[in-house]
Amino acid sequence: MADDRLVPGLAATAPARRALLIASVAALPAVLAACRGVQALGTPPPPPADVDTLRDAIEHETALVASYAAAATGGPLAPVLAVVLADHRQHLAQLSSRLIEPAAHGSTTPTPAAGGRGVVMTVAQLEQAEQAASDRLIAQLAGLPPVLAQLFASIAASEATHVPYLRAAGQGR
């Protein structure tokens, strides 16, 4: 899904947000260096809290993608798991698009293509993971920029709907 489809009128603000994230993570060491000399580069300041929150959400989403990718390889529920996996891949793509980090740090940022091997979960465990993910996202809303908060809330809603969707599929088999 394209950024500009998220919220009308916000496309123009997204680059500004990204610029802020870039500035917060990448530019501050340079600013410190200018103020206090090269030695100050040794301990860059921590990133803003919302950057950490976004990174956390990306990491959890990456783990969910990996879990579904591992679970959706076969069996009668594979088509259902594939549908949910597709949702999670969209979630991860949207979340990842909100965070641009400098190359030196980028290697630690999960991407949709670098999901890795997930832990194989039962359907019941997947349901629990979905509910936990939904609750966690809602609990993280405070302090986020409005657009990111809306994305978190929407993803939280989507992940909550996966619970009855999985349950119904499981009962129908």
Binding site: L10, V83, A157, H162
Partner: protein, 177 residues
Amino acid sequence: MTSVPGSSPRGPADLTGASLLADASRAAGTPQPVITVLQSALAAEEAASYGYGVVGAQLPQGSAEQAAATTDWVAHMRARDRLSTLITARGATPVPAAVAYRLPLPVRTPAAARSLAATLEDRVAQAYLALVALPDRSLRSFGAKQVRAAALRAQAWRGSVQAFPGLPGKSDALGDP
């Protein structure tokens, strides 16, 4: 006739009321005053309350689906009351519901009724997502939980899932009877 929720009271002679499709589509996105956002959510809840009356009438009498429609209608009535309280607490007057609403699709079959229910929930989710953009922590949390509740109801009626409930452009496929 299409009226804009939150801008003026709706008279009893307004037989079409607010467009269900127009009400919530403007809710998410640009920053709006708290009262405007709350009034938009209220309008969506009022429309949903009306719409579920239509939904219930088209579902088999005494069926589990009709019972579910009643349960969901009650949820919307409670949410409407909560929003009215929030608006009143901020010194504003809740905009009353229209007498009737123009439906986004003809509803003459149970399948159409299910589609309408899912559409109503999509619009409610959109309206509540605007609350999530507000800085107030309690309203933001309330809005997010209401988006989730609406998405769960929509999923139950539709039988499928959406990647981004409440975000514009995600309910266009609805309305197939």
